[in-house]
Symmetry: C2
Subunit: 264 residues, 2 copies
């Protein structure tokens, strides 16, 4: 495989898809709900996923695709080439803000992340990484993350984590929110992963993410030394919905041991 050529191919595809998304603002976007009233999807999510799949199947017929909207393959194992695609990550932002959403793409071979992309369409910020070759924001290399402490950290945690929920204990979470320097919440898992990779936020966590939400961003975060795992500390399996945390290496273990206490 010529990875440089595949990298150029993927970037070109992403930029072309972004043009379609931007044009969509001049047409009527059809919004509907999926699993719940707050789990939104639009006709644009569908169209963009179909655009990617059509191209990838034409040009790489032996590769498999796992896409958020279900037009890809039924993936039960990580064997071979798999493209993990979220055509619009942060659909609520897409609908409500017309910004702060991203195209997320990760290309894996036998479960190893080789090429990762998160494109903040409206800001024209393309985060990308190739395994062992570093991570970039557009053409600028992202430096390796420096160590930090909980007291100096900005944590990407939504207010719903502090409200009683069925995943984590509330008291240690309140402790975290109180101890850290500040909290932020942006509404797109893929973009929050890039914020961690760029050192803008020192950790991001979610109670339930799908492989296409994180597959691209994990590769980017990995190249600057951030650690991604489930909330039980194991490597994301990328075959089903899981809990998720990505953090600066110097606070990842402490977050899991002291502050994110899973309910029994």
């Amino acid at each position: 495989m010529n990875w440089g050529a595949l990298d150029r191919y993927a970037k070109s595809l992403i930029k072309e898809a972004a043009q379609h998304i931007k044009h969509s603002f001049f047409t009527e976007i059809e919004i509907s709900a999926k699993s719940s009233a707050n789990d939104l999807v639009t006709n644009i999510d569908h169209e963009i996923e179909q655009f990617f799949i059509k191209r990838i199947r034409r040009d790489f017929p032996e590769h498999r695709i796992m896409g958020e909207e279900g037009f890809g393959d039924d993936i039960q194992s990580l064997d071979g080439f798999i493209w993990f695609l979220d055509p619009i990550d942060g659909t609520m932002n897409f609908v409500h803000q017309k910004r702060n959403f991203a195209i997320s793409l990760g290309i894996y071979i036998d479960g190893i992340g080789m090429l990762g992309y998160v494109y903040d369409v409206m800001a024209d910020d393309l985060y990308s990484a190739m395994k062992d070759e570093g991570a970039f924001l557009n053409d600028i290399r992202l430096p390796s993350l420096e160590d930090t402490t909980i007291e100096q950290a900005i944590i990407g945690v939504n207010a719903s984590w502090v409200a009683p929920n069925r995943y984590v204990e509330t008291a240690p979470m309140i402790d975290l929110v109180t101890k850290c320097r500040g909290t932020r919440s942006y509404g797109s898992a893929a973009l929050e992963l890039t914020h961690v990779a760029a050192g803008r936020v020192d950790a991001y966590m979610s109670m339930r993410l799908s492989p296409w939400d994180v597959a691209g961003g994990i590769i980017i975060a990995n190249e600057v030394g951030a650690i991604s795992s489930t909330l039980t500390g194991v490597r994301p399996g990328l075959l089903q919905q899981e809990t998720f945390v990505v953090a600066n290496k110097s606070i990842h273990t402490q977050l899991l041991e002291e502050f994110i206490v899973l309910k029994k």
Copy 2:
């Protein structure tokens, strides 16, 4: 007063200050703490405030200035012309993210907001408004806000609001976080005001803000029909630190009556 000319003057001053801020990324920024370890200030905050004050005093010697860093006047009444200036709103973002901070400026006469500006320096997004003349993002007019409901609303609320605190009752806040469509937190009061004005977020609240944090954004939000008040529902007094909420008109009262319950 030629308001059009004053508007052009203020915009020019803001853009010139922004150039200084961007250049500062190529030099060493000196960071220190103010009231607490998380209340940061830098030499750039100081330099930018002094830049504004020098110019305003030269060109409008009869006007008074209230600035975050204390180089302005000691303001005890709202009489006459007052410029409310935050040279860098969101200093933690400035230091930690090198983006998502703003220059905030509001020009008032006898307590009436006449010209408001919030400039997202790194995104090059200048939000501005002149009283009764509408609000703009760069040269594009922001439309009046459409009505919404709590269930459809995105609420700008930090995780610390849901943790026990000395300002508001926790239970109704948990209720709000659970009922609304989603929450966001960006770390700059001035920018969060513009998100409400642009309809990206439907409400934003804070337990303690100073006049310079909100004076510019209030004028912008007001022009699209958003309501600003303290958490007790009265108009911000702009002479001291106060609680603050800005919201889409259709949910402002409900937020104060049902969800933001002040501790006795």
